[in-house]
């Protein structure tokens, strides 16, 4: 139980993939204009991250390591990610056409979200069991969701706020992201 908590805290807060490791910044800036779509994107990314962490762990442990093909990690993980994202896309298109429309191009772009590949690759260099690997994936997704939802809530307020002209739009968003990142750096050494 304690181990679960440690993994979650370390992947959500301490090694947050967006604000501490700077992975997956494209959807972080791109889908954070509206809270609703940010929530949808978080859910989809968390789903993909957890599934990819599981699938890439299985591929790594059952296929690549026994055959001595560790050097094929990147390409096979990309294949895993592409398949999982495509699967998620079909699933969302069927279950929630509205979310599908709102997410638009960002849904297939989860494929190129480097946080997803980052989690798979980092998991394969640590020696983890299946449970731990999927927890790391879920933790990364939860961390991404937390940060994305917080950021989009702030950006919704910023859209209505009285911002000096040179800072309007992307500039103030970048500054906000930087300040959030500073805040998250403060979690280091928590565990």
């Amino acid at each position: 139980m304690q181990e679960v908590a440690v993994i979650l805290v370390s992947s959500v807060l301490i090694n947050n993939y967006v604000l501490v490791q700077f992975l997956g910044l494209c959807p972080f800036m791109g889908v954070s204009k509206k809270l609703e779509s940010a929530i949808g994107m978080s859910a989809a990314t968390t789903f993909v991250l957890t599934l990819t962490a599981m699938a890439s762990h299985i591929v790594n442990k059952m296929l690549l390591v026994p055959l001595g093909l560790e050097y094929l990690r990147t390409i096979s993980f990309i294949m895993v990610i592409a398949a999982v994202v495509q699967f998620t896309k079909m699933f969302i298109e069927k279950t929630s056409p509205l979310l599908y429309r709102v997410l638009g191009v960002f849904l297939p772009l989860i494929t190129t979200n480097c946080a997803v590949l980052g989690v798979a690759l980092q998991n394969s260099t640590k020696s983890l069991n299946f449970m731990q690997a999927s927890l790391y994936g879920f933790g990364a997704g939860a961390g991404f969701s937390l940060v994305l939802i917080l950021f989009s809530a702030m950006r919704e307020r910023l859209a209505a706020a009285d911002i000096p002209q040179p800072f309007e739009g992307a500039a103030i968003a970048m500054i906000t992201a930087g300040l959030m990142s500073l805040a998250f750096m403060g979690f280091s050494g928590l565990v």
Partner: protein, 215 residues
């Protein structure tokens, strides 16, 4: 067989990647069958928001074709009977900004109206019957026509074709059977900082200076 594969690194790599590709291909093929969608459900949702007057003022033969066209990216502000309320609803559905009503397609009626045929002037030409998109006009050739009030959507498409101009659009009077609570106003200014530019805001220093003026 397995020995040959493990001894030849290239062969192993080939088999592994091809195998992975085949496995994922099979999974996706299965998913494509399983999660097949028929039609576009967004069209249905847009169609439900449109007022179903079938008036054709948007330039399409009815509400459904207009809904299909919106789903394909047409402008959402071509529906005068629905007015700004419909535009806002579709805008929030599709997550796009809500434009004002396009005047080219007509103006939003302020009160709901229904067609009324002055029956003693009607010559029974059936032209209005053919024009009515919702079959709300009753009558036959050379016999007097009349309007079923409950069915009439007030689209005024029957006014134009009438050769003797005996159709009037009358406002619907509210009675106890169709009265509804007014739609709730979306509250604004719940958050104090959002009201900063509002006209009612009196900053502390303002009130102080006002008092000094009075004194």
């Amino acid at each position: 067989m397995l020995e040959i594969i493990t001894q030849q690194p290239i062969l192993a790599a080939l088999v592994a990647l091809v195998g992975l590709g085949l496995a994922f291909g099979a999974l996706l093929g299965f998913a494509a069958e399983k999660f097949k969608i028929e039609g576009d459900p967004v069209i249905d949702q847009i169609d439900e928001l449109l007022p179903q007057t079938q008036c054709g003022q948007c330039g399409f033969p009815g509400c459904r074709p207009y809904a299909e066209s919106i789903a394909d990216g047409d402008a959402i502000n071509k529906c005068p009977p629905g007015g700004q309320a419909t535009i806002n609803a579709i805008a929030s559905l599709l997550d796009v900004p809500a434009p004002a009503l396009d005047e080219e397609h007509g103006q939003e009626a302020e009160v709901k109206t229904v067609a009324y045929i002055r029956e003693d002037e009607c010559i029974g030409c059936t032209k209005c019957i053919q024009a009515c998109p919702v079959d709300a006009i009753l009558g036959a050739a050379k016999l007097m026509h009349t309007v079923i009030v409950d069915e009439c959507t007030g689209c005024d498409l029957c006014v134009e074709p009438c050769p003797v101009d005996c159709i009037d659009m009358l406002p619907v009077e509210e009675n106890i059977n169709q009265w509804q609570w007014p739609a709730p106003q979306i509250p604004s200014g719940l958050i104090a900082t959002d009201r900063m530019n509002g006209p009612n805001l009196v900053r502390p220093e303002d009130s102080v200076s006002n008092r000094e003026d009075v004194a």
